[in-house]
Structures are given as structure tokens and as C-alpha cells.
């Protein structure tokens, strides 16, 4: 019984991190219909920035998050300007998605090799004084870094909810998502809205990278497995359904920790991917949406 509760607890903590990874992907996919497969590599980039700050100045990874956000936000702006914005000219949405997939594959190649050049291909992680520590609540151990991840994921979820529903930027984003042409006729600067949301999405990848580097480890080529997790969560939540990402991530985390009991830890990720394929086949609209809809924002 204790094992089960422990598994549920760690599943929730891991799931929060998964959700955090999926937020950036879901934003770009929901708003612009781009599939940014370089998301995993950008996550690793954020991890390296945090690692650098930690080793050069000794700043705690969780305190360096604002700096990482600024750095990866800029990276997101560059990514959008150089690679994604030319794709907006394509008339067909499906073509746009497919080409964004190919182009961001090129970005993976560039980023991964550049990172291997700068930070060497060795695996890096930040060992802070509290890294291995856990809090004991009623006999259930909760790792400190995992709890931080959960806290940040909830913070991001709430912040995104407020930004999208209460601010002008959010209104612009929703308008541009529903109908970019009509929005620009009404005076919404669609290009700028896209630019900022791409920056936010990549910054979220960077935040996820900080948590990954402080509780796991990063290598330059390691972005792909994180990317796949992000995509799985995004599809479970339903394409463009931002509010469902946190519950979807936690469901994935729970399924993974349950699968450790059934098939053993080495096959954990394979189980997640198989579930992903099954969901994709039978419920392509995700677990949380009743029927397929193009409006990404459910209030």
C-alpha cells in the first residue's frame, strides 16, 4: 500500500515536469499551428544556461530562472524571426505544420552540435546541497526538486490562464488564433503577437530545462526524449487545449509510475509512447476535449 501511495506521489511530481515541457509546445502548436520539434533541444539549452550560471557565479538554479527566461525568450524571438515566420506565407495549414517540423529538425541539428561544441558532449547536472533531499509526509517521500517542479508548473498554469484570459496580449493571442486575417483587420498586430508567444513558449522550455538539469542530467543530444514526452502530453491534452496540459501531464506521470510495477523501469518510456499511439488512433482530439474544435481556448 505504501508503495502505491509513493508511486502515485512521484508520478504526480514527474507529471508536473512533463506538463511544464508540454506548455511551450502546446502554445506554439495552438496559436500558430507550428510543430516545434526543436523544443527538446531548447529545453537542453535552458538547462545549459542555468548550469553555466551555476558553475560560473554559483547562483542557485532556481534563483537563476529569471536569467534563463530572458536568455531563452531571446532565443525564441530569434527562432521565430529566422525560421518560423517565413512559413506564414504558406497557404495550407497542413503544409505549414509539415514544413515547420522539417525546419525545426534542422534547428535541432544546429543546436545540438553547437551545444556539443560549446559544452562538450558530457552529461551535466547541477548538484546543489539539497539535490538528493526529500520531504517526508506521512511516510511518503517527496523529492525537493520534484516539489519545486510541481510548484513552478502550477505557477505557469495559473499565469498562462490569467495572461490568456485577462490581458490584452491574451485577447490578441486568442483573436489571432481564431482568425489571423480578421484579427489583423481589427488592429491586432498578428506578427508581434506570434513573436511574443513564440518567445514565451521557448522561455517555458528553458524553465523546464532548469528543473531537468537540477533533478536529472542533460546531454547535448538528449532533447529528443524530452520532446517526445512533451508531444505525448500535448496530444493527451488535445491540440491547443492549454488548460488541460497540467492534468494530462499528471496522468502521463501516473501511468509511467504505474508501468514500473507492471513492466519494469527500463520500459517506462516505451509504455508512454505506446499509450500515445493508442490515444492518437482512437481519440485524436485528446482526452479532455469532447469533439474536435479549432478554437484552442476553452473558457
Amino acid at each position: 500500500m505504501e508503495d502505491v501511495i509513493q508511486a502515485i506521489a512521484s508520478g504526480i511530481l514527474v507529471g508536473a515536469l512533463y506538463a511544464l515541457i508540454a506548455y511551450g509546445l502546446g502554445l506554439i502548436m495552438g496559436i500558430m499551428k507550428f510543430l516545434n520539434v526543436a523544443h527538446g533541444s531548447l529545453l537542453i539549452l535552458g538547462g545549459y544556461v542555468s548550469y553555466w550560471i551555476f558553475t560560473l557565479w554559483g547562483i542557485n538554479p532556481y534563483l537563476s530562472i529569471p536569467l534563463v527566461i530572458i536568455a531563452t525568450f531571446l532565443a525564441g524571438l530569434i527562432l521565430y524571426k529566422l525560421t518560423l515566420s517565413p512559413l506564414l506565407k504558406l497557404p495550407d495549414i497542413e503544409m505549414r505544420v509539415a514544413n515547420s517540423l522539417l525546419i525545426t529538425f534542422g534547428v535541432i541539428y544546429v543546436l545540438d552540435n553547437a551545444m556539443a561544441l560549446i559544452w562538450t558532449p558530457n552529461s551535466r547536472s547541477i548538484m546543489a546541497s539539497y539535490s538528493g533531499e526529500a520531504i517526508n509526509i506521512f511516510g511518503v517521500k517527496l523529492s525537493l526538486t520534484g516539489l519545486c517542479g510541481l510548484g513552478i508548473a502550477i505557477l505557469v498554469a495559473v499565469a498562462l490562464y490569467f495572461i490568456l484570459s485577462k490581458t490584452y496580449l491574451g485577447k490578441h493571442v486568442r483573436a489571432a488564433t481564431q482568425d489571423a486575417e480578421a484579427a489583423s483587420l481589427c488592429g491586432v498586430n498578428v506578427q508581434r503577437t506570434y513573436l511574443i508567444s513564440c518567445g514565451i513558449a521557448v522561455a517555458l522550455a528553458g524553465v523546464a530545462g532548469v528543473i531537468v538539469v537540477s533533478s536529472y542530467s542533460i546531454t547535448p543530444g538528449g532533447g529528443l526524449s524530452w520532446l517526445l514526452i512533451g508531444i505525448v502530453v500535448m496530444v493527451l491534452a488535445g491540440e491547443g487545449n492549454i488548460n488541460a496540459i497540467l492534468p494530462a501531464g499528471i496522468i502521463l506521470g501516473l501511468v509511467e509510475s504505474a508501468s514500473i510495477f507492471v513492466v519494469g523501469a527500463p520500459y517506462r518510456q516505451a509504455v508512454a509512447l505506446v499509450i500515445f499511439i493508442i490515444v492518437l488512433m482512437f481519440r485524436p482530439q485528446g482526452l479532455f476535449t469532447k469533439k474536435r474544435t479549432d478554437v484552442y481556448y476553452n473558457s
Binding site: 517540423l101 534542422g106 552540435n113 516505451a270
Partner: protein, 322 residues
């Protein structure tokens, strides 16, 4: 066959190249380095032609090529180890890969557009994880295989299978299946409405593509006798690099993947000596530029340049100068 006789002038240069590839190693001593490079070039040509059938002609981005390649390697390696003649083992590797393609293809081909890409990538990753967990130790051939190792048979097997792959792609794309493939790529819904069973044709194309990729894996298994980790042949790089070769060379053309593979293998060798890892960054940037600005790749950009030149030579300014 009439098209072939009509185009004999076009076929002549490629015939010369093929003849040179066949004859040169027989009449003169060629360095091991070059032979190694050539074998890798042939493997890349096979893989990129295989991907081109799905990605270039049918418009379905298959990111599970590594699974097909790895399956071919795995099947061929263990059959050959069980003392099946290598040519049969390679063929069996191709057939085994077709079986895998049915398993992967039936669920994923129902997915549309980009989700087919992610689904196949997910399948390939599942296989990589499973294979990595099954074969945890060094997989290698017994010593007698190593003692009789020579590069020339690998070279000729690679050459023959690369030629087969090119021929298969040529004949498939010039058949009724080829028409259906292009119809699926250009507008799948319209093709369905006019009575093309798009799912059937997509499965057929995937089967052929998988067979070719499996043969490519067979060549690699014949070429590399030992694998430090078996999951390396399922690494996503075996998908990405052929995709890059096809896109840089020109998707949906017969020549594009060949030129792209040549570019990737030969130039990466030249660059690697001077720049180290940096050549991969250059390839990434080149790939992005090609996808953004030359959707038909290098082969297509030749046509684009020719059109621009023709326009210039027709213009008044040009005539005024001359």
C-alpha cells in the same frame, strides 16, 4: 521501354558513372578509406531513396526510417550469424522489415499529416528502447567472419542494392502506383473523392519503402560485423540524415536523393577533417535554407536558376548589351 530509348542521351552519363563504379575497383587498387566512404554512400542512397518514396512522392513524412533500417540490420546480422548465405540473409532482412512496416504502418497511416510523422517517430523510439534493453552487451560476429573480412564484396553488394533501389523507385514512380502516390501528396481528399483508395496505396508505398530500407540495413550488417550497442542502429540519426539528404538534394525526384547523399557523405568527410563537429552545424543551416527557399532542393534549384537565366537572356537589357 520507349521512354528509355528516347532518353538514352540522358541515361548515358549515369551509365558511365555506374560502369565506372563497377569496373574501377576491379582494374585498380582503391584505398580502404574511399571504399569505406563508398559503402556508406550506397547505404545512404538506399535509405534516402526509400524515404523519398514516402516523403518525396507520397508526401508522408516518415520519421521511423531508423526502425526499418535497424530491423534490417538485426534480421540480417542474426541470420548471417546462423550461417544463412549473406544474400539470402539480406533479402530476408528486407522481408522482415516489410512485416514490421505492416505493424507500424496500419495504425500510423490512418493518422493525418504531421501526426503520422510523430507516430512513426514514437514507434521507432519504442523499438530503440526495447532493443537497447534486450541487447545489453556487445553484439559481434565470431572470429571466422572477421578473418575473412574484405571490403570489396561489401562495396559490390552496396552498389547492386543501391542500383536496385534506384530502379525500383524509377519503375514504381512511373507506374499507376506512382500516379496514386503523387495524387495522395498533392491532395489526399480530392484523390479519395475521385475513387483512389489512398490508404491502400499508402500502405503499398510504405511496404516498398520499408523493403528498401531493410535491404540497406542488410548492407550495413554485412559491412559492420560488431555493434557495441545494438540500439545504435535504431538511433534517430538514421532517420534524420537520409531526410536531410533527400531534402537537400530534392524531394520527389529520382536524382535528388543521390545528389543529397553524395553531398552528405563525401562533403561531410572533407569538412570533418577541417572543421570537426562544426560541419554538422553547417549541414543543419543548409538544410533549413533549402527547406525555406528551395522546396525542390538542389535539383530543383538548377531549374530555378535556368529559368532566371532564360528570363534574363530574353530581357531587353540583355539584348541591348549584346
Amino acid at each position: 521501354m520507349s521512354t528509355i530509348t528516347a532518353n538514352w542521351k540522358k541515361l548515358l552519363p549515369s551509365g558511365v558513372v555506374v560502369a565506372a563504379c563497377i569496373v574501377l575497383p576491379m582494374v585498380m587498387e582503391i584505398g580502404t578509406n574511399i571504399l569505406n566512404l563508398m559503402v556508406m554512400l550506397f547505404i545512404f542512397i538506399i535509405l534516402s531513396q526509400s524515404w523519398n518514396l514516402m516523403g518525396g512522392y507520397t508526401g508522408q513524412i516518415n520519421l521511423g526510417l531508423a526502425a526499418f533500417f535497424g530491423c534490417g540490420v538485426l534480421a540480417t546480422h542474426f541470420l548471417w550469424k546462423a550461417e544463412v548465405p549473406i544474400y539470402l540473409a539480406v533479402l530476408a532482412g528486407g522481408v522482415a522489415t516489410m512485416v514490421l512496416a505492416v505493424i507500424i504502418g496500419l495504425p500510423t497511416l490512418r493518422l493525418r499529416g504531421v501526426y503520422f510523422a510523430i507516430g512513426t517517430l514514437a514507434f521507432a523510439e519504442v523499438l530503440r528502447i526495447v532493443v537497447g534493453n534486450i541487447f545489453t552487451t556487445w553484439v559481434k560476429m565470431p572470429g571466422s567472419y572477421v578473418a575473412t573480412y574484405s571490403l570489396l564484396p561489401r562495396y559490390y553488394l552496396g552498389l547492386v542494392i543501391a542500383l536496385i533501389a534506384i530502379a525500383v523507385v524509377y519503375f514504381v514512380t512511373n507506374s499507376k502506383l506512382g500516379l496514386a502516390m503523387v495524387a495522395v501528396r498533392d491532395d489526399e481528399e480530392a484523390a479519395q473523392v475521385t475513387g483512389v483508395n489512398t490508404f491502400k496505396y499508402k500502405v503499398l508505398t510504405l511496404l516498398i519503402s520499408a523493403f528498401l530500407a531493410g535491404l540497406g540495413g542488410g548492407v550495413y550488417a554485412f559491412y559492420r560485423l560488431s555493434f557495441y550497442t545494438m540500439s545504435q542502429v535504431f538511433s534517430p540519426l538514421w532517420t534524420f540524415e537520409p531526410v536531410m539528404a533527400v531534402m537537400i538534394g530534392g524531394a520527389g525526384t529520382l536524382l535528388g536523393p543521390i545528389i543529397g547523399s553524395f553531398f552528405l557523405v563525401i562533403l561531410s568527410e572533407i569538412f570533418a577533417l577541417k572543421l570537426g563537429e562544426a560541419h554538422l552545424i553547417i549541414f543543419g543551416i543548409l538544410f533549413i535554407l533549402v527547406v525555406l527557399y528551395f522546396p525542390y532542393g538542389l535539383v530543383g534549384s538548377v531549374d530555378q536558376v535556368r529559368q532566371v537565366m532564360a528570363r534574363v537572356s530574353r530581357s531587353r537589357l540583355w539584348k541591348a548589351i549584346h
